[in-house]
Structure formats: structure tokens, C-alpha cells
Symmetry: C2
């Protein structure tokens, strides 16, 4: 349904045609993944995925753990009739696909052309068996994901459309604003499926915020926040 034309010819795992070679790590305050790999005596391998290409699918055996080097990734679940809930957007530095179960519980797709560093799950687990620090780091990563999920459940279950959008904008502002501008990699539909809304409601809310002067849109995905305090108040 949402499968891109490019992914049909891609192999099940590491796409053979998209090897990018080693990349330098992103400049992160705390690169936990790098620390983990270091302790485990491992090096990540980088691959490139094209826009809308699937990285792994729900139900597949979970063979790798992933870190975004460049680009953006969405992870989601589907209902049988195609309704989609995106649980997270993963941006450079973020680790995803870290399951303690043998199968993937979500589907992951590149939102734009994306470079991903990946490491074998089995190797990481072996390292965790030997080195307590690796195990504790992995726990810490999963705990971080749980914390985000807890916040997001409150949003999905109890916030209004305006509050959801305000929360989203503040989250993205924190994570990807450079020089006062936010370049959203995802579509209105992605945002809607993240917030439990329709794309029309997201669009209307953006427009409303713009007419109130809270927001500046220069192109649908180029956002400048003009009044963060106002958004924080809406955030409930």
C-alpha cells in the first residue's frame, strides 16, 4: 500500500546496491550507540536507503540495530485496514530497531534519502552477556524509548488537535531547528499518523497558527517558530 517502487527490488536486508562505506559519526553530545559499539569492540556499517524505502518490516526477525546517521526514519504499526500509527520519528543520532524480542514489532521506513549505521543484534547481545556496561547502555536506550512512548500516550489519548500540533512543533524545534529554521522531513500525512489526526486537521491547525503569527511557513515544510511561549501554553 505504502510500499515505494524502489523497495520492491531491494533485498530483504542490507540492500546490496546501497553500500555507502564508512561514514564519520554525527557530532552528538552523547553518542551512546558509538559508546556501546566501542565497548563491544564492534564497528557499525553504513547503508543508504532511499526515500520511502523499507528498512525492516513488522514481524520480521530482528537481525540488526540501527542508528540514523543522516536523514530521517519513521517507525509505525498498521491495522488490518491500513490505518497507521507512527510511534516515533528518528533523526540523526537516534537509535531504533532495538528489540529485546526476536521479531520486529514495528515497520521502519526512510522518510527521505537516509544513511543508517547498523550493527548485528546477535553480536550486541553477546557483548551484553560479557560486558555489564553494554547491557546497561542497551537498557538505558530502551528506557528512553519507553519514556517517549509514555509521553506520547498522554498526547494521543488526552490532548486536543491544537495541543497535539503544539507538542509536535516543540519536539521538532528541539530536535531539528538550525539557525531559527526547522526543515520538516515528513509529510502532513506522516505528522497526522504520528499525532492520531487526519492530514487535513494538521494542515488546518498549521494554517491557524500561522494566521495567529505563532508560526512562519516558507514552503509547507519550512517552519519558523515565532512564539514558542504561546506553543508551550497550548501544550497543556
Amino acid at each position: 500500500m505504502l510500499a515505494p517502487s524502489t523497495s520492491t527490488i531491494a533485498p530483504a536486508l542490507p540492500p546490496l546496491g546501497s553500500i555507502a562505506g564508512k561514514c564519520t559519526a554525527p557530532a552528538l553530545a552523547t553518542d551512546k550507540f558509538g559508546a556501546i559499539l566501542g565497548r563491544a569492540g564492534m564497528v557499525g556499517t553504513d547503508f543508504c536507503y532511499r526515500k520511502d524505502e523499507e528498512i525492516y518490516g513488522e514481524g520480521e526477525p530482528s537481525e540488526y540495530v540501527y542508528q540514523v546517521v543522516k536523514g530521517a526514519v519513521r517507525t509505525y504499526k498498521l491495522l488490518s485496514d491500513g490505518r497507521r500509527q507512527i510511534d516515533s520519528f528518528h533523526l540523526p543520532g537516534d537509535v531504533f530497531g532495538l528489540e529485546s524480542s526476536p521479531t520486529c514489532r514495528l515497520t521502519a521506513e526512510a522518510i527521505v534519502d537516509t544513511t543508517i549505521r547498523l550493527a548485528k543484534r546477535s553480536s550486541l547481545e553477546q557483548a551484553a552477556e560479557v560486558d555489564v556496561q553494554v547491557a546497561l547502555h542497551l537498557w538505558s536506550l530502551t528506557a528512553g524509548h519507553l519514556r517517549h512512548a509514555e509521553d506520547h500516550m498522554l498526547l494521543l489519548g488526552r490532548k486536543t488537535a491544537m495541543e497535539k500540533v503544539a507538542t509536535f512543533l516543540l519536539e521538532m524545534d528541539r530536535r531539528l531547528t538550525v539557525a531559527g529554521m526547522m526543515a520538516l522531513p515528513m509529510t502532513r500525512r506522516d505528522i497526522a499518523d504520528y499525532l492520531g489526526l487526519t492530514l487535513e486537521t494538521v494542515s488546518r491547525t498549521f494554517s491557524q497558527l500561522q494566521s495567529q503569527g505563532v508560526l512562519g511557513l516558507t514552503g509547507a515544510r519550512q517552519v519558523a517558530l515565532r512564539n514558542r511561549q504561546c506553543l508551550r501554553n497550548m501544550d497543556a
Copy 2:
């Protein structure tokens, strides 16, 4: 706002007046918490909490890890105006309050009179530093919570009222049906705040399922499922 009268006189942590002494462990297929404590050379201490009594509050330092021995617990987040999102119901055998962060991110309350086994978080973490198996078990517990949260985000963001209630009933059926009957410990309001609905909608949906013969109600909290397959179909 929702604080019970009994909790105002209760001390911040282990209520002094409610020591219950050691209890026998619940008969569980896999008592991970017991296994962890065993490996850590620890024994849990049991306390009793009265109905609606707070076990810990959001923002407090997280000093303990908890396991339900008998009864039921809700963990939730609040918005500033009192809107509540319950993220989980914890039943006998369940572990909760396991933060890898130093402060509690949720509030926990006893739904009914409840016996809780608790262990010091710092001791558990010390044990995890030394014994990899403890660290891996703690990770596994957090991963289980994350899995539930992922499923619940799909429910909150994308399911209809009927689908939410169907999912809830099947979850509770699995977790607390004995001899064909389910004794729900929680109120309609609790269920509503778990499913992101109002209590009236939950009540109406229960009534509708009863009139369809899917459900048998003998008292508002005594439920018998008469057609599980029908519920599974609604579950989407």
C-alpha cells in the same frame, strides 16, 4: 483532585501503618522479579496500600521497584487541567515503577486494597552492575513495558471506541478471567482514562456489547465473555 482522603496522612514512601509482613509469592509461570531478586541476593518487602492510595507520584525520586502481589494498580500521567491518561493496569505478578531515570515519570495508585512487594532501586542497580543476568532481566522488563506502550499507542491513536473496548476486554480476559468470569477491579472512569474515551462512551459500548450477546454483565464489574471471536474481529 483525585487524591484519596487516606493518602494525605500516609508518609511519602512505605506507609508506616500498612506493613503486612512477608507474603508468599503469587503462583506465576515466570516470576522474573523473583528471579532478579534471587540473583541479586535480595528479598522483597511487602506492603499494603488501601484503595485509591498513592504508591508514588510523578516527579518524585524513584527509590523503589514494585511488584503487585495481590490487588491492582494504575499508573498514569496528568495534564495541568486534570485530564488523565492511564498507561497501564498492573495485576498480580506485574512489575512497575522500574525507571532507569532518577525520578518517577508516572503516578501509581492502588485501584483496590493491594499488596505490593518492593525492592530498593539502588540495590537492584548495584546488583545489575555486578551481575549481567540481573541487568539483562531488568532490560527485558522495560522492553516488555515498551511493547505494551507501542500496542497502546496504536489503540489510542487509531482505533474506534468499539475497537478500543474490544481490545480492553480481550486483554483483561487474558489477564484475569477465572472460571469464565472476569472481575474488573477498576471503574468505568479508569477504563475510559486507559482507552482515551469518556466513561459514558465506555458504558454505552459495554451496554451495546451486552445487548448483542457478546458480553454478560452480572454487576457492573463482573463480566463474562460470551463471544470472544466477535471481539477479536472488532479488535481490527
